[in-house]
Point group: C2
Chain length 366, copies 2
């Protein structure tokens, strides 16, 4: 549960960063939920808000649909947006500041033009501040970890129920829908993302959504799923066999499992994303499958299912203490099958805590 003090701490850290970059005010806005920064800074979970953070003013502005909800969720002062002030509220809120931080990665060109027009482009400077907030969001606090742990528990409990339902003849779509339904019944806000349930050759397409294809005897199934709880995501993958796997399937499974376990073991704030990725990649390459592991080892996790930091060759920086990341090596043999095993871990410092409490030995469904 995000408490008033958590929001206060986040804001005070943001204010420090703003000072360092000489930014007078930050405007954080929702855009079709493509930015969750407003939620991070205010705890408000609705779909429209301006969150304004300055040393002398911290407030949230939204329309009448959300006034009750904001009073309930957010410690920030509510500024009511309505027809009478819609044309000048941005000017009222931001006009007295010189350098205005805004989110260039989630503000649309139209939205930005409106902002400049309403506040007055000539008297102000508009500064991109995405990175500043992303940096804050990378380091998870106790209450965020608590929500992620609950999201893990719900997802894994539901996955256990799913294992009893997987049978030859049932469609991928039906099975994925059952898993999502079960997560919500167990208390998830919603699934953290569209579940992947790739059976047989479909498991070799890492991005593939569930189809009307039926599960068949002798197949591997890659199941990538997660729950959202109080806004926070879990993101887990297990690969299971329906009936007896071939020797090749067993071999590939063991390589992925070893890569997952070894890279997970060493992940800490002493290593970069690239270094951790390399541990898994070297194991898979040594086994002769290097060409079939086409994605990064992992990514950050929080309000969004993909956020910073990356655990891949692209990230040469050490992982920050407090980050939550996925560790998810995979091998995908086109036209045949795929194997991926994914846990979520919490970088506590020189070591990490595994948040996904679920066995990695191959499960063979009979």
């Amino acid at each position: 549960m995000v408490l008033k003090k958590d929001i206060e701490r986040r804001i005070s850290e943001l204010l420090k960063k703003m000072k360092a970059e000489n930014i007078d005010v930050v405007l954080s806005t929702t855009f079709e939920n493509s930015s969750l920064n407003p939620r991070y800074l205010s705890n408000f979970s609705g779909s429209f808000a301006y969150v304004v953070i300055a040393p002398d003013k911290q407030c949230i502005c939204s329309d009448s649909r959300y006034w009750e909800q904001i009073k309930d969720q957010s410690p920030l002062e509510l500024v009511k947006y309505d027809r009478s002030n819609a044309s000048h509220i941005l000017k009222d809120l931001l006009g007295s500041y010189k350098r205005i931080g805004y989110e260039a990665k989630t503000t649309t060109v139209s939205g930005f033009n409106e902002l400049k027009e309403k506040v007055g482009a000539d008297d102000h400077e508009f500064v991109e501040c995405d990175e500043m907030i992303n940096q804050l969001r990378m380091r998870k606090s106790a209450e965020e970890i608590e929500s992620i742990k609950k999201a893990e528990e719900i997802a894994l409990g539901s996955f256990t129920e799913l294992l009893n339902e997987i049978k030859p003849g049932r469609t991928e779509k039906e099975m994925a829908a059952f898993l999502e339904y079960t997560m919500v019944k167990k208390g998830a806000d919603k699934p953290a993302f569209d579940t992947i349930f790739g059976s047989g050759p479909n498991g070799a397409l890492p991005h593939m959504f569930p189809t009307m294809k039926k599960v068949e005897e002798g197949e591997f199934i890659v199941i990538d799923f997660g729950a959202k709880y109080q806004g926070y995501c879990s993101d887990i993958t297990r690969t299971v066999a329906v009936g007896e796997p071939t020797d090749e399937m067993k071999t590939v499974y063991e390589v992925v499992k070893r890569a997952q376990i070894e890279s997970e073991k060493i992940a800490s704030s002493s290593l970069s994303g690239k270094e951790i990725d390399k541990v898994a990649r070297d194991i898979i390459t040594a086994a002769g499958y290097g060409d079939y592991f086409g994605h990064g080892l992992g990514h950050g996790l929080g309000l969004f299912v993909h956020e910073q930091p990356g655990v891949s060759a692209m990230n040469e920086e050490k992982l920050p203490q407090g980050a939550v990341v996925t560790i998810e090596p995979g091998i995908y043999l086109p036209g045949k099958f795929g194997v991926r095993i994914e846990d979520d871990i919490y970088i506590t410092g020189e070591t990490n805590e595994v948040l996904t409490h679920f066995n990695k030995d191959l499960i063979v469904l009979k």
Copy 2:
């Protein structure tokens, strides 16, 4: 099913509009699926693409995750995006055109800066073209109506099953999750939006998402739901009673029902959104509930669950022939209950075709 000829027709209509506005090329891009124009223009349903439309070039550019899918879904020429050309592909595709149309409402400031930098801001003019594509999208074609009809059928079949499941003691969340699960089992791509299931006083909050509140005897429940099929949405609301309603509840229900039926009956391309809204609003106002109908009567429906044209006081233009819109009056009595009844209709010209085949008499669940 969207066919090659449908895409060709859409593109040829867009090319005409471009000519009229002196635009040489249009770039339509995905952004976290906040724009579905790329899908509209190419039939590709994945999450990353540049769709480029010019008189002499129509192509779709995406990365290796999607090459097979594009060959399967889209009649447009595939241009492969990869590491080797990522830095100059936008220049290659757009550099030879002078006036470049782009989507200001769904392109982020970062994305736009990248576009300008890569293509060269000095030699080109960038023109907002959102409205041009929205105008096209308003007029639905036969294949779009076919998909919407299937989305209606799936949603209503699932709603019928839900009616047997609603019992005092069950939570709003559980019931909404059951409905969504059933829609997917019946063949929906996914729910068209997060289902609303507002029982008792929660029904008076039109935007409220399902909570852990249990259904109680004597309550009204507002259920707003829809399926997505081949990308197209249905959007339906019915209000049902759990056990015997009070006289006030019955009175309010009948007012909303009359407002819905009368405004639906007259909706056509001869009237503006405002005029159709007024028919429903006048009935509700005359009955003394005008202050409790706080939203517009309806909105357009298609790939997005909310698109143009609006059926509200804000839209003084006549509805275009070919539009699909919702007709959804409501009365919300704070702290007590809400009633909303919503159908989807197809504006065929001087009249309309109701797409939602479901009774509007009050259903009392015993």
